[in-house]
């Protein structure tokens, strides 16, 4: 099912979003994070570096999934 373009598009989109989220976690202190982000805390200047790394890694995993999903089809052995 390598031509499943919707799944690939979703993986790429999710990858971009997660990497963006990761960057936000790395550069913004907890009080500046959007309210719906886990770790948002009013008045806190703590940077959630770990959350950022986690989001970044999952984003990369999404890209890897899309990369393999769009690769050349494996030849099926003749029967």
């Amino acid at each position: 099912m390598r031509d499943d373009r919707l799944l690939v598009a979703l993986a790429v989109l999710l990858g971009i979003v997660l990497i963006a989220v990761g960057i936000v976690y790395l550069i913004e202190p907890a009080h500046s994070l959007p309210g719906f982000f886990p770790g948002h805390e009013a008045g806190s200047s703590h940077h959630h570096v770990k959350h950022g790394i986690a989001a970044f890694l999952v984003g990369l995993a999404c890209f890897a999934f899309a990369w393999f999903r769009t690769g050349p089809k494996r030849a099926t052995p003749a029967t």
């Binding site: 986690a54 995993a61 990369w67 393999f68 690769g71």
Partner: protein, 290 residues
């Protein structure tokens, strides 16, 4: 209190040796590092900043030793990953590539759960009594894995090829996620992953090999991530002891992995299950009455 007196050098040697052995034996290093100071009457507490900083060095040493022990395997795995990325295909005929991606799939849940839950779980369950109770449960977990394990197929393939063929993507994800249980002091990371490996159909030897390969990036990354703390103010007064402990931990880890790879060729988790249950029970009673 003088900072250098927080952990003495003899204590550092004992804790380093303990860490090196118990990180790889399926008996919970974190649990033992909580329980042992209490048993010996040492004024060392799991959640003290200096102690966490001290442990970074021992974890890093363990990860380096593991990486070097499986150096040739890692080189083949890295090459396999490169081939698969180049070809955009994880060929069933390329066990190194498949094993590499299985390790990545297993590392992702462990990494995410570790990054997000480590501090909170360690804080909640840091008492020696809870560590002793969870050590008992770790014994039951190992025993359960022995009862429920699938019979591994015997083949003439190389170890890594057999692991790559036996473990599914889902299996690798679940085995990796099982590592997160080790965030609770008393549960063992290698115990959880070896148990998981047995449940997905690996032999004891292959399950141990897969567990050690899976543990290396997680232990190493966790240590590297916190390494700046060792060189910051949190490391004041414990750097020398941390270095000594790291050397002891590295030596103990080398002997431990060498022993375990041979041990699991013919033996099971049962002795560790009995030890964990017995030691956990004895410590629970001891802490309760003392």
């Amino acid at each position: 209190m003088i900072l250098s007196a927080l952990i003495s050098y003899p204590q550092a040697i004992v804790l380093g040796l303990l860490q090196g052995v118990s990180e790889l034996f399926p008996v919970s290093s974190l649990g033992h590092s909580v329980i042992l100071p209490k048993l010996l009457g040492w004024n060392i507490h799991q959640n003290d900043k200096y102690f966490l900083t001290f442990l970074i060095a021992t974890h890093l040493a363990t990860a380096i030793v593991l990486f070097l022990f499986f150096w040739q395997d890692w080189m083949r795995i890295f090459k396999g990953l490169g081939r698969s990325l180049r070809d955009r295909d994880i060929s069933p005929d390329d066990p190194d590539a498949r094993l590499g991606w299985l390790l990545i799939v297993g590392t992702i849940p462990a990494g995410i759960l570790g990054l997000t839950l480590q501090d909170s779980l360690r804080t909640i369950f840091a008492s020696p009594t809870s560590a002793a109770i969870f050590l008992m449960l770790n014994g039951l977990l190992l025993y359960g894995a022995e009862l429920l394990r699938r019979r591994a197929r015997v083949t003439a393939e190389e170890d890594d090829a057999r692991i790559a063929r036996t473990v599914s993507w889902r299996g690798s994800f679940l085995v990796g996620a099982a590592q997160a249980i080790a965030l609770i002091p008393g549960f063992s990371r290698s115990g959880a992953t070896i148990a998981g490996g047995l449940l997905v159909g690996l032999s004891h030897k292959d399950a141990a090999r897969f567990a050690f390969l899976l543990a290396t990036p997680i232990i190493g990354a966790a240590a590297v991530l916190k390494l700046p703390e060792l060189f910051g103010s949190a490391g004041d007064g414990v750097r020398g002891q941390a270095l000594v402990a790291a050397l002891c931990s590295g030596a103990a880890a080398f002997l431990a992995v060498k022993f375990l790879m041979r041990y699991f060729e013919t033996n099971t988790l049962m002795p560790f299950a009995i030890y964990c249950f017995g030691a956990g029970l004895a410590c629970t009673i001891w802490f309760g009455v003392s």
